[in-house]
Symmetry: C2
Subunit: 101 residues, 2 copies
DNA sequence: CAAATATATCGAAAAATTTCGATATGAAAA
DNA sequence: TTTTCATATCGAAATTTTTCGATATATTTG
């Protein structure tokens, strides 16, 4: 973890909806309906579910998620026409290690 | 820790200089000259040292530090005409707990 | 008490972020 | 292979943040 990356992560964490997305993704089963095609949450949750739950426009959510992936907070996996997002616990841990003593 | 406070903390952490200030304050003795009046770093570092090291204007640094104190990241203590700032490890820990699973 | 020093606040210009609708791209379904 | 569905990208307006110089406040010092 370096200062530049930590700053980009901080930017992603400076917005209520983006923070909520990270919270929701702690427990996908609890916060989202089950996937119709994929029968599991192994790769997280698809963009459309996050979009619906957020109340923001599709383009805004796509923009958010792309940025969160770019700085490593999320991991994106394509399955057919769907993109699934899950938390990147490794980076999140590295970030919190960086913040604490 | 709640979503609103976490968002405010995230805003403070979304800027390279503010992040650096938090890093510097991990080891005041290492990153700042000794205080002339106060002979210790028990209450952290005075605003003018942080100002000098930052390269930004006095008003900007004051504004930064005030915000960082408002959201709990820093603890401010007055000694005469000096304000000393130190990290609030308790809030920082609560924040990192909030981020991680 | 006047001057000097440290910090805080104010108002405003510049820069960055937010957010959307429109549109493009990519993949599956008809 | 055209249509449909999911997601990504673009351009632009609105909002927020950044940052400064000027000025105010608070405290010490002469």
């Amino acid at each position: 973890m370096n200062l530049k990356l930590a700053t980009e992560i901080g930017k992603c964490l400076s917005n209520t909806i983006r923070l909520e997305i990270l919270e929701w993704l702690k427990e996908p089963e609890k916060n989202f309906p089950p996937h119709e095609t994929l029968k599991h949450f192994n790769d997280g949750v698809c963009v459309s579910y996050i979009h619906e739950k957020s109340g923001l426009s599709q383009s805004t959510i796509s923009f958010y998620l792309t940025n969160m992936e770019k700085c490593g907070l999320l991991i994106s996996t394509r399955h057919g026409k769907w993109s699934y997002l899950k938390r990147n616990e490794k980076i999140i841990n590295e970030y919190t290690q960086f913040l604490t003593k």
